[in-house]
Symmetry: C2
Subunit: 121 residues, 2 copies
DNA sequence: CCGTATCCGTTGCGATACTG
DNA sequence: CAGTATCGCAACGGATACGG
């Protein structure tokens, strides 16, 4: 929940911007921010349920520290499920939640915009 | 221009993700990243052409350092115009470019998503 | 009025080693 | 296999003072 509503959290950036601490856009960007969350989301979006070490292989350059912490944050923020199978050895699979199904098309629009910006410059 | 195309810059996150350095989504997020660019964009989007000190008043908490550097980056990235009137004293007005007219509706969708995420948790 | 320059603390992230 | 723990650096951003 928003702790202390500011001037524009109800209707995002439609009135009384510039929004600050509790801007819903700021909240959204924080959820997908950091260096590795987008690659993680994209990978899971493409391939569906994926195991930890599989993710680590696919996302080249990521370290255990960052993968584990990013996954934990995404899980806490309701953006992915962590399912643990108590086999031997243990197996863990990560899957996107419905919230991400809504998010990805928006991110795709943003990416298209990014392409245009890049071609323009 | 993209210096060294990687696996997914052509069709953003539709194939061969996870995208890395040259991911168009990464490019887009970099353009609007940092602590103050969104508030600046929102302010200009709402009020149109705005002077430097006017922006500084509206965006509470921002320092000269950050306002000036953010404006310069946004200008260099083709997201706003800087118009200088050589009166005495000097007057400078900032305005969003057409690129931002396309961007803002997308950001608004993202904000709506952020609201839902916030209410859900 | 519209910024720059300098300094400095904080945060994010990487590297490496280790564990249930 | 799926992570933690610890350390260190570099980038980001804040505070303050100054300049065209």
């Amino acid at each position: 929940m928003i702790a202390e509503p500011n001037n524009c959290y109800k209707s995002p950036c439609n009135n009384k911007c510039p929004c600050k601490d509790y801007c819903p856009l700021g909240i959204a960007l924080k959820l997908i921010g950091g260096k590795w969350k987008i690659p993680i989301l994209c990978s899971l979006h493409q391939d569906g349920a994926t195991r930890y070490n599989e993710l680590k292989r696919k996302i080249s350059g990521i370290t255990n520290t960052m993968l584990a912490s990013s996954l934990k944050e995404l899980e806490n923020d309701g953006m992915l499920y962590r399912k643990q199978y108590d086999e031997m050895p243990v197996r863990v699979e990560y899957t996107l939640t419905a919230a991400c199904d809504e998010l990805m098309p928006i991110l795709n629009q943003l990416a298209l915009w990014g392409v245009k910006m890049n071609n323009a410059s």
